[in-house]
């Protein structure tokens, strides 16, 4: 077991493309860190560099305090789990799991004992003499995990290990992975595209975009205090609503009405080069049916009226889609997020507003409805660089903060 430190690690390919740019990351001993981002943002390359499967162009990688840049994968004492599972088709489950131990030249008895132990933990005992071709996807995945844990390596590297499983199995395996990691307490770096996995599994989440780290922190912190537009849009499902906001007379003119701003944001916007146009972000759960809001709460937000487009009742609450007029919010980050989501399930940049209202709300499709939203939970972003203007010392304070 060991800590992993990436010190300005970069990867530049011979054709000039930079896959990973100056990544600084300190992963503590026993920590479970998730790398998440849209496809092709350099997460797998980063993982491969930690494993030693790709050379590091510049920067330093230390495992347990030792520089390992030039060490072969076999000398780094790490285990990797692949999306394709990468099981050896010619070997049985037992032989697959014993392979790293046999290469390490352990004696037969020890190998057998360790394999049996790992098989027990992963409930593979009955399958030990089968070939991978005769296993289901979930079983293969467990064998791949088993092959990683038998060695008790310094760290586990997992490259989208659950992506090839169907949705139900993925949820099941997520808990298995989580429990296993807690039990073993082994440092783990986990790459995924799935933000649910990122939010539920890790101690800390690293959000990457175009080879660069956007923000590192515990899942809740990323959700509540996104440092920029990209992080705000990437984390959360359904994702944050983004609206175009024009700065006029110390107010923000938006499709939801004029939003007042507090002292601190005003100061931010006073500079000569301060942006005149902003992007306003609100999460769906910070809306509420105006009828259901008590006076005390009402004071902390503002209200607007809009036509109801679609109502999705989830039982515990209702997702209500409103049609709002006005300019679309536009920024490079938002386009990238929309492209990654296949544009279909990404509603943040559209003209419709996603809200999560209480189940008691009598809202119906076709109605005009008054809706309240919380001004303290608003984020304001600079469209030119995506920076979150409402963030103060790492905490988001809303539009009204003084």
């Amino acid at each position: 077991m060991a800590d992993i430190v990436l010190d300005k690690v970069s990867k530049k390919f011979p054709d000039g493309t930079v896959a990973v740019a100056d990544v600084d990351l300190e992963i503590a001993d026993g920590e479970f860190v998730i790398l998440v981002g849209p496809s092709g943002c350099g997460m797998s390359t980063t993982l491969n560099m930690i494993a030693g499967l790709e050379d590091i162009s510049s920067g330093e990688l230390r495992i347990a305090g030792q520089r390992v840049n030039d060490k072969a994968p076999r000398d780094r004492d790490i285990a990797m789990v692949f999306q394709s599972y990468a099981l050896y088709p010619n070997m049985t489950v037992r032989e697959n799991m014993a392979f790293p131990l046999r290469l390490a030249k352990l004696d037969k008895e020890t190998i057998n004992r360790k394999v049996e132990e790992a098989a027990k933990v992963l409930e593979l005992t009955a399958l030990l003499d089968r070939k991978p071709a005769n296993l289901s996807g979930g079983q293969r995945q467990r064998v791949a995990m088993g092959r990683a844990i038998v060695r008790q390596p310094k760290a586990f590297l997992m490259d989208e290990p659950l992506s090839n499983l169907d949705a139900k199995l993925r949820v099941q395996m997520r808990t298995v992975v989580s429990r296993l990691q807690k039990q073993l307490g082994t440092t783990t770096v986990y790459v995924t595209h799935d933000q649910t996995e990122a939010m539920t599994l890790g101690d800390r989440v690293v959000i990457m975009r175009g080879g660069a780290v956007q923000q590192v922190g515990p899942p809740q912190e990323l959700y509540d205090h996104p440092r920029n537009l990209f992080v705000a849009g990437f984390i959360g499902s359904p994702s944050m609503n983004f609206l175009h906001a024009a700065v006029e007379d110390g107010k923000l003119r938006t499709a939801l009405g004029d939003v007042p701003i507090g002292e601190r944001v005003r100061r931010e916007l006073e500079g000569a080069d301060a942006p005149r146009e902003l992007i306003l972000g609100i999460r769906p759960e910070h809306f509420e049916d105006a009828e259901l809001v008590d006076d005390d709460t009402r004071r902390r937000g503002m209200e607007f009226e809009a036509p109801v487009d679609i109502v999705e009742s989830m039982g515990s609450d209702k997702y209500v889609y409103f049609t709002v007029e006005g300019e679309r919010a536009s920024a490079a980050e938002l386009e990238e997020l929309a492209a990654d989501a296949g544009a279909s399930d990404f509603t943040g940049a559209g003209a419709s507003l996603v809200t999560r209202l209480s189940a008691e709300s009598p809202v119906a499709e076709g109605q005009h409805r008054r809706v309240w939203f919380n001004l303290e939970k608003i984020h304001l972003f600079d469209p030119s660089n995506g920076r979150n203007l409402t963030l103060h010392e790492g905490r988001a304070a809303g539009a009204l903060a003084d």
Binding site: A79, Y88, P89, A104
Partner: protein, 332 residues
């Protein structure tokens, strides 16, 4: 010969699928087609009829160009039939086979052929694997490397054989002047060595091409996994690559063995079979075409055919050779 080997191979895989269909992934089309175990619906019947109709032209051509000559040779091999004495033509049963199989020339030629087959195929496998790895791994100038490697295979065998013959001709040949003092093509051992060298030079690219197709079947992730599992480059090669490539290797070996056993052109040009360097094909040619003895020549042809069939049978049944990448090979 390879035409015959293919349907036989297909049969094997279908058989095994039916008997060892324990896995959940066993539902391959061959099994679903069922062999009349369930009554066929009208639709299925029409489909099957169409299938036969579509196959018929190809099957007909095959019968005309391969089955007829084979059957005719067998018929000829059962007769005393020498074109120099056409009046003595007569059905004599297996007498020709007794004549050939008790003849020391036949067995010498058989030994020479076996030696050439075993040595060339073994050397080609090693060299071909190396060449395949180089072609597979080359990043810069991939096209040039592959083209260069394939040139020997693109040259007509007879032309290449002549260039080897001139190279080893004392006095004028550059290789003869470099390496030997006598005339290497006039001694048995050195002649055989040169024949094998020419064969290997010529067909290693073919072996490499087949093996490269096998290399492409080894998933990159598997090698990465082996690296992190602690395998050295050699261990990755022997413990991961070779087992995964096994089907492709067996197919390559089968093709090359069948080919090598019928070696003719190189011997014909280099030594013309002198100094006991005749292969069985050479011997059959001498009897059939030059000697005009249709009976004995056909007998030898049939024997060569049988030997090749046995080789194919051994590969398919005993080593389990199947088409590379077929699901069947994975379950074994």
């Amino acid at each position: 010969m390879s035409i015959n080997a293919t349907p036989a191979g297909a049969d094997v895989s279908a058989d095994e699928t039916a008997t060892s269909s324990t896995g959940r992934h066993a539902a391959v089309p061959a099994q679903r087609a069922g062999r009349g175990r369930t009554p066929l619906s009208e639709n299925k019947k029409a489909e099957r009829k169409l299938g036969w109709l579509l196959c018929a032209p190809a099957a007909l051509v095959m019968v005309l160009v391969t089955a007829y000559p084979i059957i005719y040779s067998v018929w000829l091999s059962l007769q005393r039939f020498d074109l120099r004495f056409p009046d003595q033509r007569e059905f004599i049963g297996l007498e020709n086979y007794v004549t050939v199989l008790t003849n020391e020339f036949w067995w010498t030629a058989f030994g020479v052929t076996m030696l050439i087959t075993v040595v060339t195929v073994a050397v080609e496998l090693v060299l071909g694997m190396g060449l395949a790895l180089i072609m597979h791994r080359t990043l810069v100038g991939r096209g040039i490397v592959r083209t260069a490697a394939l040139i020997p295979y693109g040259i007509v065998t007879v032309v290449a054989a002549f260039s080897w013959r001139y190279a080893w001709t004392p006095g004028t040949g550059y290789l003869a002047n470099l390496f030997s003092e006598g005339a290497p093509l006039t001694e048995r051992a050195s002649s055989l060595a040169i024949i094998m060298l020419a064969e290997i030079w010529k067909t290693t690219p073919f072996m490499a091409l087949l093996l490269m197709a096998g290399l492409a079947l080894v998933p990159e992730d598997l090698l990465k996994a082996a690296s992190t599992d602690g395998a050295t480059a050699w261990q990755r090669f022997t413990k991961v690559m070779l087992p995964v490539m096994k089907p492709a290797i067996l197919v390559a070996l089968l093709f090359r063995t069948l080919d090598a056993f019928r070696v003719f052109d190189n011997i014909f040009v280099l030594t013309a079979g002198g100094n006991e360097t005749s292969s069985v094909s050479m011997l059959a040619y001498n009897n059939l075409i030059r000697g005009l003895n249709l009976g004995i020549g056909s007998t030898m042809s049939v024997l060569i055919f049988l030997t090749v069939a046995i080789i194919a049978f051994v590969f398919v049944k005993l080593f389990g050779t199947a088409a590379p990448g077929s699901d069947d090979s994975e379950r074994r």
